[in-house]
Symmetry: C2
Subunit: 245 residues, 2 copies
């Protein structure tokens, strides 16, 4: 779905051997994303990404001021894609019920974390790195579709819709976005970090639905008893701190 189409202009094919790559910045982002997916958030190096693109290590520094900047840019791109995905999920004509729309948004959010845990982890965590903020020179945020909405904004719009349609009391609207975001994000983070395991995307969807609905109507007001539940990857049981020789 990506990784092909390395140069959009000019002839030739892979860009290997070409001195001027065409879109090195994008290619580096692609390579980094693939590496993150393959080997985890930190299981790769700038040099490796450069080599994969067919370029010397220092070439990357003409597009990103540091490795952290690369990660930050990738984070932005992934967050944008996530926002788009959420928006698309909400606009599916399947069911126009505002509750269902919100559930769909949450499911898109959580599924992304389930399908691509490492990339999602990177996307969420890039802001906390020490050099994350002020390492750059110029803010020109190229490479990212500036129209791509942040996940939080998509959620916010959805809640407005919920109020307008009379499904949420205006008094409860203030800050409700954070409550719902928190719920979605918690599930996504627990899955991405491997602290919880579910078997299959459908199970994740059910869990997401219950979580989102609970924040709206409350666990107290549940009708249907429910099905198989996540299993905790209990760190105390599973993970071990080892001592060698």
């Amino acid at each position: 779905m990506e990784g092909m189409g390395e140069d959009t202009m000019k002839g030739k094919s892979t860009g290997r051997g070409r001195y001027h790559h065409g879109d090195l910045r994008g290619a580096l982002l692609d390579a980094a994303e693939a590496l993150v997916r393959e080997r985890g958030v930190d299981g790769w190096s700038l040099r490796e990404a450069s080599a994969r693109v067919g370029v010397s290590p220092s070439a990357a520094y003409h597009h990103f001021s540091s490795r952290d900047a690369l990660v930050g840019a990738l984070s932005l791109r992934v967050l944008g894609q996530l926002g788009e995905r959420m928006g698309r999920a909400a606009d599916l004509p399947a069911e126009a019920d505002p509750h269902r729309r919100l559930v769909a948004v949450g499911q898109a959010y959580v599924r992304a974390a389930l399908e691509d845990p490492a990339v999602t982890r990177l996307a969420f965590g890039a802001g906390a790195s020490p050099a994350g903020r002020g390492s750059g020179v110029e803010p020109r945020e190229s490479g990212v579709d500036p129209l791509a909405p942040h996940p939080h904004r998509v959620l916010d719009a959805e809640l407005d819709l919920l109020v307008k349609s009379g499904h949420l009391a205006p008094a409860a609207r203030t800050g409700a976005d954070f409550v719902v975001w928190t719920a979605m994000h918690g599930l996504a983070a627990l899955l991405a970090d491997g602290l919880i395991a579910v078997d299959g995307p459908e199970a994740a969807d059910r869990q997401t639905e219950r979580t989102v609905r609970a924040t709206l109507t409350g666990l107290h007001h549940e009708a249907t008893p429910s099905e198989p539940w996540p299993t905790p990857h209990s760190a105390h049981t599973t993970r071990t701190a080892d001592a060698p020789s």
Copy 2:
């Protein structure tokens, strides 16, 4: 509260110059934790931690099979401390109301993330690293109080109590721990990753209370309209992907 008391047995003082350190493993964990606090999850090196303890870099490898193993052990220790903290918060005689107990547990969880974002991030994220699982030799999980309960277990017990006291329908009990954990964890993760900002611990406490209560009674059934809300550190606005020279 920690970092002092380097050698519990034998005389001398700092352990510097002593060939046998006494408790190098613990000292390394302390140093690593301090470094994480000071410079972020990845802003430190094994060598640096070793140097801070006054020991050669390779000494660490007699206690941890790799750097990742150190991080994993630290994660376990921090999670244990978090569990204890949650348990303590629940047992405060302040208010015995089961709802309030659950809120207190959540507040302990979230406050930890707020006070020590980097360490908390490490604690949660250590399991997802590629070498996290099978890198070790022997599972002897020394150094960690084996009685320290995992946060999830504390939460679970609290929900049982909620059912026993008639505040939660048994039908809704199954999987409710995951729903509540998800909510707490989402807030903690968003705060630790800097995707949300609140001003002061009290604001965080209020947000936590609302979040936990929402998962129980639902946003729909809220009575009191509420106060200042978190501000999104909107990544699209704040963070920038930079391009040099």
